[in-house]
Amino acid sequence: MDRAHHRLRSPWPWAAILVGCVIGWGQGQRAHADAGVVAGTAAAESILNEHRLPLAAWIVGIGAATTIFVWRARRGRPPTIRRIAALEAVDEAIGRATEMGRPVLFIPGIQDMDNIQTVAGVTMLGRVAKTAAEYDAAVEAPVCRSLVMEAAREAVQASCLAAGRADAYQPDRIHYVTDEQFGYVAYVGGKMMREKPAACFYMGCFFAESLIFSENGNSIGAIQIAGTAESSQLPFFVAACDYTLIGEEFFAASAYLSGEPDQLGTLQAQDSGKVAVMSFIVIGAVVATAGVLMPSAAWLGELGALLRKAMGG
């Protein structure tokens, strides 16, 4: 098992990435050639969209930082990551549910799998389910999209296997309710009042239901941990839940909880991206300010334009 695992880790993903690049590029070439023939004109513009080169540079940069930090972490230099209180509380919340003999409720948001927050939410569900399987607590996850149901079952089944508790996986606990936002809310609200879960996790993309869930959760005395990147809902989670993962913290949660060096390495890559943006902001603002104060210095204008271009301006 360990060997297979290791083999998966090393060169294979890179081969897959390469294949993806080749397919993408090759199809582009072909489509471009076809277009040329049909239009009967020589390709006047490059098939590469050079307006998007700065974007490509940013993505390659973040990708390179990720690779470097993952590589460093594997070489035995795992990064130190600051404490995130909400995530330290996950085990405690599940433990309490176990003691009280009540279920854990997990809501992976109300959007479909084409929303990256849902993907992050399902990943978190896997982590929570693993801990719950170890503690022998039941995780209930009603969902409002059929595809999310399938993905969630997949993740929970694998987590139970990984925890050595294949018997703990009960697919019926992850069930579809309805695609309709408030139909789903009505169902979950009623379920909370009747089954009184001891711990509630809201991890994913949320809209108006955030406050209905968290106020109902509060009234039944559940420990509530929320995480979302929907900034309009953050105030309600912050006010009504015990712990909240704000924006970027939510995306870091899965990596943080895994505790694996590679995953923690990607958090460092995230930080390096932040530092890069902050540097651009500082330098850009200083150059722009200097340009206003010294309108005669043309080089300042050029430098400013260059910096803006690097930001896609």
Binding site: L55, I59, R82, E154, S232, P235, Y256, V282, A288
Partner: protein
Amino acid sequence: MNRQRLTWIVIGVVFAGLLVVRGMTGQGLGRVYVQHEDVAYAKVETKSAQGAPTVAWKRVAEGGVADVRWQEWSAVPPKAWFEAQAKDPRQSAITLSWPRTIGLWLAAFFTLAIFSFLWADNVFYKFAEATVVGVSAAYWMVIGFWDTLVPKLFAALVPAVVQAHVQPSLRPVDDVQWWSMALALVLGGMMLWRLAPRGGWIGAWPLAFIVGVTAGLKIVSHVESDLMAQGLATMESVVAVVPGADGATDVGASVWGTLANLLVVVGVLSALTYFLFSVEHKGLVGGTARVGVWYLMITFGAAFGFTVMGRIALLAARFEFLFDDWLWLIDPNHLRA
């Protein structure tokens, strides 16, 4: 338990009594009126300029020879019925619609049933909850079928059928669309394989495809329109020079503008510092992060204030439904007078 049941019975009886009183005073309450229209179309065959036969459909007046006919009903304000009745008490152009009147009372019942959850979980809420789950799950499946599968999948793969039965004006799709629909059909089929007794693992493949493509798409859209665009927006000059009415610099406005710009830059930088993961929040970083948290809290406070506005408006709309459409207590849109 007994006391709760008694409370419900008392509330119910008082409420029903008030409804009866309301029904017997003034114009009454909760009725919907409709008028109907007969629609008839006849097939007309013509020849186009090239001589090819084409078929057109013409609306025919009442009583004419038609190939297709049907009736349409549309709601009218009660005022129209009152006026029609005043002119001719035996008129039948505008009539009471039983289905819609029953529907209106059902809607009022559902509205009150959901509100009753605020008191406590109860049998009315449970009934409303079961209804909304059943109806809405089916509703979205129907919408998915008629608005996604038919015009996208079927229109690409079996255009003749769609043209014959749903949308005669359908135009052929291009190759890329055809292939993307064929792919969707294959992946959807793999998804459904889960229902088969064996080989359910194949359902993980379409999921993998979706997750992979989502990752590829989102990284582009978020880095481009969020990271770069918001960074760019902050790379502005801090010093603001605001021209006044006379062409000279308006000092007061410029100072305010400069201060505002400075506060924005400081805010973005400090709040980003809060999100740093690989540095302990101590010393300078800790202090900056704390300022960042202040900014975040002000942002959340603003979001709270604005959200509240919307929520009250929604509640107001439900009360208006009860008072206006159902109980006929108020008439802000002059539908009855």
